[in-house]
């Protein structure tokens, strides 16, 4: 596979993942991940200080499935629209295949103006599974160390 094909495939994956979460289509979100995978959200501060704590830490696919189930079935979440803008997808190569991207998430509550909820970057590793590119490891690293209110959905 040449770089151009890989770049195209990575874009398809990043776009599909953001679109799934914006639409609260969690099965489509999970479909972006490999059978063995991890997902975590970190503050800049914890990364800078070398602390292992994460806001969200799913160390297996099962944990990610449970979190998605909790979001759908048990968590109390005030309805909102989230819109993810993912840009600068940068496939770095290597084995496992490393990739990075920047993200911004806008948030809109009923009756309120849209605000910028969060910006940051993804540090991912990707893997081909059944001929389709998937996330094996996804780390979202927030630019801010302070989250506005809550972080109910994956980024």
């Amino acid at each position: 596979m040449n770089d151009r094909e890989l770049f195209f495939e990575a874009h398809v994956l990043y776009t599909a993942c953001s679109a799934a979460l914006d639409a609260l289509d969690f099965s489509a979100f999970l479909a972006c991940f490999a059978g063995e995978c991890s997902y975590s959200i970190h503050s800049k501060e914890n990364i800078d200080r070398g602390w292992p704590l994460a806001f969200v830490s799913c160390t297996s696919r099962g944990m990610l499935e449970d979190r998605v189930a909790a979001v759908q079935k048990s968590s109390f979440i005030v309805p909102r629209v989230q819109r993810r803008i993912v840009s600068g997808v940068h496939v770095l190569g290597g084995e496992p295949l490393r990739s990075e991207a920047s993200f911004a998430v806008f948030e809109t509550f009923d009756g309120k103006a849209t605000t910028l909820f969060m910006a940051g970057r993804f540090e991912d590793t990707l893997v081909h599974e059944g001929g389709v590119l998937k996330f094996r490891e996804r780390r979202a690293i927030l630019d801010s160390s302070i989250v506005p209110n809550s972080l109910p959905y994956p980024l």
């Binding site: 602390w51 704590l53 830490s57 449970d66 968590s75 160390s145 972080l151």
Partner: protein, 417 residues
């Protein structure tokens, strides 16, 4: 202060909405509570192990620097240059000998003493500071400091009771369960805002009534312990309290007893039609305190600090007021230096229940914002807190708001409301 007839005649079973939303009351809270006779948690000693270490922290709205000097003494200094008021220190943490103001290079030592300033004697014999300018009189504002078992507290008052007396004998054993003297290891911080009043977070820790109703994570996945034992411990003033509850899952006595068999057996007793966790290991917790029989604790320290010990997660959080309608919540998660990798892994895994993305605390944050909208609605109303009666005594049942009433007993005394 205006309208002292604020409190309804029913007394402690009512909370006037104005205490959450009124600007004048908020200013009085800063003056009387946070700048008064309170011990305010600011740091763990584990964050300042060496001479020269410092971290930034807050006492309510006041930014402070917590430092350790060469002689080991911990100081809590207001992060504001004594010259023009510039914020001195911008880093969250570091190691230094001095704090120099970027504006005119006034320089302060780790205890806040003004060490020197450029051009003290002017230039070419002209200008500068007169012979009466005494460096010793122009240091940084210093707070009173106490420590207890590795936690650091600060006060604007020099007249606060010693910490064990302040937290009260009912609560102290549960504080000392976590802070048992073993050196601590910081695992990380979480910080987030919530558009709510600071007391709303603290009341949440005093309200076992809401937990079964709002936090349905465990029930959703078929994990429920019927008649979950609960004790509510309250200090004599009413300001600080501890909820001691039977753990939502059985704390395993040893790794040998443990999952997957342990958790699976525990889940089997519940209804077959509940959802199943794909990864039950998230609930796998070890019993770690020798005197403990399978309990979790949620403790508040007057005014705005809370400690949790739940599954194997240990943490402290501050509800830092940012006006009546917003808080910053600063969490520090920790374990012990003696933890092995397996225990550290559990503590990090169980942190999934806490913080802004927490599987349990996420629910609270959503509700607290709606709560603030309600209590800010004009004309103001009252909260009704009658669960478990109208008293402020300790309790050993779950459907009670006794610790909330006790908190307001103390609040009214301090605020003269």
């Amino acid at each position: 202060m205006k309208s002292l007839a604020l409190w309804p005649g029913e007394g402690l079973t009512r909370i006037p909405h104005a205490v959450y939303a009124d600007d004048t009351i908020y200013e009085q809270e800063l003056a009387r509570i946070f700048h008064g006779k309170s011990w305010n948690y600011v740091a763990l000693e584990a964050e300042l192990p060496r001479a020269g270490d410092f971290i930034r922290s807050f006492v309510a709205e006041t930014p402070v620097i917590v430092t350790r000097a060469a002689d080991g003494e911990i100081s809590v200094l207001v992060n504001r240059c004594s010259h023009k008021g510039v914020q001195l220190c911008q880093a969250y943490a570091g190691n230094t000998k001095t704090f120099a103001c970027p504006y005119h290079q006034w320089s302060f030592d780790l205890k806040g003493k003004l060490q020197g300033l450029p051009f003290k004697n002017g230039v070419d014999g002209q200008g500068g500071f007169g012979p009466d300018f005494d460096l010793a009189r122009h240091g940084l504002d210093r707070l009173t400091v106490t420590t207890h078992r590795g936690a650091v507290f600060a006060s604007f008052s020099r007249d606060v009771p010693p910490f064990p007396e302040y937290i009260g004998p009912s609560n102290l054993p549960f504080f000392e369960r976590i802070f048992d003297g073993r050196p601590l290891r910081v695992l990380g911080k979480m910080r987030h805002t919530v558009d709510t009043n600071w007391k709303t977070l603290i009341e949440n820790f005093k309200d076992p009534y809401h937990a079964t109703l709002l936090h349905v994570f465990f029930a959703t996945f078929g994990i429920w312990r019927a008649g979950q034992r609960t004790e509510v411990r309250i200090d004599e003033t009413g300001g600080s309290s501890t909820l001691v509850q039977q753990s939502p899952v059985v704390l395993q006595k040893s790794r040998a007893d443990e999952i997957d068999a342990g958790i699976a057996a525990q889940m089997k007793v519940y209804r077959e039609d509940f959802m199943k966790l794909a990864e039950p290991k998230i609930l796998s917790a070890l019993r770690e305190f020798p005197e403990d029989e399978d309990t979790v604790t949620m403790q508040t320290l007057w005014p705005n600090c809370a400690f949790h010990q739940n599954l194997n997660s240990l943490g402290v959080r501050l509800a830092l007021p940012r006006g009546p309608h917003q808080i910053e919540v600063h969490w520090t998660f920790f374990g012990y230096e003696s933890d092995d990798d397996d225990m550290t892994r559990r503590r990090l895994m169980h942190a999934n229940f806490f913080g802004p993305g927490g599987l349990v605390t996420g629910d609270d944050i959503e509700v607290w914002q709606l709560n603030q909208r309600g209590v800010s609605t004009k004309p103001p109303g009252v909260c009704r807190v009658e669960a478990g009666g109208s008293g402020t005594d300790e309790a050993d049942f779950v459907i009670t708001e006794t610790a909330v009433r006790a908190f307001y007993k103390h609040y009214r005394r301090v605020m003269e409301l």
